[in-house]
């Protein structure tokens, strides 16, 4: 009994020595914390916000065709429109914000029509979208037809895809041989920037 007790005491003493020895060895961890690597990414010296050179845009000078814009004399209509973008917004003198016509989504052809009370001799049209860069570049595909007397239409410009880019004012000027027109229509079949054709302003030029 006594012997067993002494053996147990000896073993327990040894284990206590080992355990507390390890604890003693780890006492350094109770001291100050040692931190790992800290990287500080420095900011450049600057006193105001900077526009990087590649984003500085040169002022664009709008292209104005010869003659007079007579779109004010026309009634604008379309075979449909999307949301809050009816055809009348294409001649309100504004290109900003929601002031544009947009054809019905996924319902090509979107046909936009300008009709005069009497024939005019026209030689150019100008299409504008909002010039702000928030309107990203897009391509619109359309053809142009005219009616000389209010009756049947004849082709004026065949279907073609045109670039609209805010870097160049988001505008497009199309000039052609002077022609007598009582009605003019644009037939849209594609737009890479929206679900339907878009016109913020349509200007029609005549020498009057």
């Amino acid at each position: 009994m006594k012997k067993t007790g002494i053996i147990i005491m000896t073993l327990m003493s040894l284990s206590a020595i080992v355990i507390w020895g390890i604890v003693w060895d780890m006492r350094s961890y109770a001291g100050e914390t040692e931190y790992g690597e800290v990287t500080v990414v420095e900011a450049p010296d600057q006193t105001e916000s900077i526009t990087p050179a590649r984003f500085v845009r040169e002022a664009f000078v709008p292209v104005v065709p010869d003659g007079v814009n007579i779109s004010e004399l026309a009634r604008f209509d379309a075979n449909g429109f999307n949301d809050v973008y009816p055809p009348g917004k294409a001649k309100d003198g504004k290109t900003d914000g929601p002031s544009y016509w947009e054809g019905e989504a996924d319902a090509y052809p979107n046909i936009f029509t300008a009709e005069f009370d009497e024939p005019h001799r026209i030689h150019a049209i100008k299409l504008l979208l909002c010039p702000k860069t928030i309107w990203g570049a897009r391509k619109q595909t359309f053809s142009v037809e005219v009616s000389t007397d209010g009756g049947d239409y004849v082709g004026l410009l065949p279907e073609q895809t045109y670039d609209f880019d805010p870097l160049t004012g988001n505008e497009l000027v199309l000039e052609f041989e002077e022609i007598r027109a009582m009605k003019l229509r644009l037939i849209f079949t594609g737009n890479t920037g929206a679900g339907g054709g878009q016109i913020a302003e349509l200007e029609i030029y005549a020498n009057e």
Partner: protein
């Protein structure tokens, strides 16, 4: 004598046993301490100096007034100081909004709050010093992280350790004002950073930059490096495979509030496929923050949003399919997360591992517009909100499905939702419900003359921890346009697991609601 010897041996054995047991506990504690210290010792931290052009905030900047009465710019915070592993971390001062009512003139009073951003691996010790506060109490959210703040009142500091990169919010003395948002990330691997020489990469480094609206082209990546503050808005239209990522800030404070006219939505995607937004921080939007419209296969991961202006919804997912949104933080002055139908049907939208703080309107909302495009057979299906922590919700319902058009809204799941604090019904809230599920006609939001239905809504493991013990509501429109097949499982209301509608304080309309099961 023999007996005395045996007694001594027994006493000695007991003593040694106690010594061994204490030793084992001491060893375990020492080992834990060693492991923690090793984690800190082996940790890596990346801190980003903020732009030097940002002005230091002064007392006038912190006034709770409308944005036309003070500078709304993003600023350098001067009343809250943060160190990470002993190194100073830059703190921004951004705008937030504690107003609980709508302002028709779009000019509600706004406040400010500090934001710190850094990356780390391992474990880091963070110390926050707020000299102007008494610091009686500090709450660190999410509470599920179990972070124990150590407060030193004399030094006005609170210290704690972070072991997992994520989003953490400190609220002082039970007040939402001047809460500190800490947005942390894993350290970026060099191979994960886009190559700035790649012509398809638009890269902004540390510093403050201003550019016109950025329209991304197919395959382009916009990268905002840590320490970058970029004043602009980003959009993509009818394209695929675009990405916005990095550790930087997209800031809208240079734009005036949209006031119902011109919204410069910071991240606006229309008719896109395969878009990604990762890890950036968006502050001071002039309207809502993320708009995805008629998009599919989108990923939003690790995005952090704080908005304070009218109509400042966090993420508005409109008519989209197959959208995965995860690991984001959204603090917003309008709906934090919202799914609507403006055109096509919505399907397979998943929000997972999100933290929300909703200063106005609803935290998780479907509707009200469910068929604004007036399409035949409109549906919103398979929408999941899972593992969501709502830090605060002050105004309208925390969980809501509002069908204000003729669509069928079906298979909506809210699972593992923790609401740490809510004060639903504050201010001018006209929907003082914790949970609101309804088919409605609404003068502001309905577009179709007919009404729709809601079928298959599951609420699983929803836990309201603290707040106004308001009612919830389930109501159809009439006997044909009903809410049906609602399942409630594991609903805990302020510490009590509830088993029926009465206990849950859910008002169920008698003639316009089908099955509501409690499990």
């Amino acid at each position: 004598m023999k007996k005395f010897g045996a007694f001594i041996i027994i006493i000695a054995i007991i003593f040694l046993l106690a010594l061994n047991i204490c030793g084992v506990f001491a060893l375990r504690t020492a080992k834990e301490l060693k492991e923690k210290k090793d984690m800190v010792k082996q940790s890596e931290v990346v801190l980003y100096e903020g732009p030097r052009s940002l002005r230091d905030a002064v007392a006038e900047d912190l006034e709770n007034v409308s944005e036309d009465k003070r500078d709304y710019s993003l600023l350098h915070c001067t009343d809250t100081f943060v160190t990470v592993n002993g190194q100073e971390c830059y703190v921004y001062d951004t705008n937030v909004n504690h107003t609980r009512s709508w302002y028709g003139n779009y000019l509600p009073p706004q406040s400010r709050t500090p934001v710190a951003i850094f990356d780390f691996e391992g474990a880091v010790d963070v110390e926050v010093r707020v000299p102007d506060r008494e610091l009686d109490k500090v709450k660190i959210s999410p509470l599920s992280a179990g972070i124990e703040p150590q407060i030193n009142k004399d030094a006005h500091t609170v210290s704690f350790r972070l072991v997992t990169p994520g989003n953490y919010t400190l609220q002082f003395d039970d007040s939402p004002e001047r809460a500190l948002h800490i947005f942390t990330n894993h350290i970026e691997k060099e191979e994960d950073k886009p190559d700035p020489q790649d012509p398809n990469v638009i890269c902004f480094g540390p510093g403050e930059w201003t550019v016109d609206s950025l329209s991304l082209s197919k395959g382009q990546t916009l990268y905002l490096a840590g320490g970058c503050v970029l004043h602009t808005n980003v959009n993509a239209n009818f394209i695929s495979d675009v990405k916005v990522c990095g550790r930087g800030i997209l800031d809208g404070s240079a734009y005036e509030c949209w006031k119902g006219r011109e919204a410069y939505v910071p991240l606006k995607f229309g008719h896109c496929k395969g878009t990604e937004i990762r890890d950036i921080v968006v502050l001071n939007s002039n309207a809502w923050v993320v708009e995805a419209y008629d998009c599919e296969d989108g990923v939003i991961d690790g995005l952090r949003i704080i908005s304070s202006r009218p109509n400042g919804d966090g993420m508005s997912i409109q008519s989209c399919a197959h959208y995965k949104i995860s690991n984001c933080f959204v603090r917003s002055w309008d709906d934090s997360l919202v799914v609507k139908n403006y055109d096509l049907n919505s399907d397979d939208i998943v929000f997972r591992d999100m933290q929300l703080w909703t200063d106005l309107a609803q935290s998780m909302e479907i509707g009200f517009e469910t068929n604004k495009g007036k399409k035949p057979n409109a549906t919103i299906t398979n929408v999941t909100f899972e593992d969501i922590t709502v830090l605060n919700n002050y105004h309208k319902p925390v969980i809501s499905v509002h069908n204000a058009d003729d669509a069928l809204v079906e298979d909506i799941l809210f699972r593992n939702i923790v609401v740490e604090h809510e004060e639903v019904g504050s201010g001018d809230s006209d929907l003082p419900y914790l949970i609101d599920i309804g088919v409605v006609q609404n003068n502001n939001w309905s577009s179709t003359p007919e009404r729709g239905q809601i079928r298959g809504v599951s609420l699983e493991n929803v836990n309201f921890m603290e707040g106004n013990d308001k009612y919830s509501r389930i109501a159809g429109f009439d006997a044909e346009h009903i809410v049906d097949d609602v399942t409630v499982k594991g609903l805990v209301m302020f510490g009590n697991e509830v088993r029926d509608a009465d206990e849950a304080k859910i008002k169920i309309s008698e003639n316009t609601v089908g099955s509501v099961k409690f499990e």
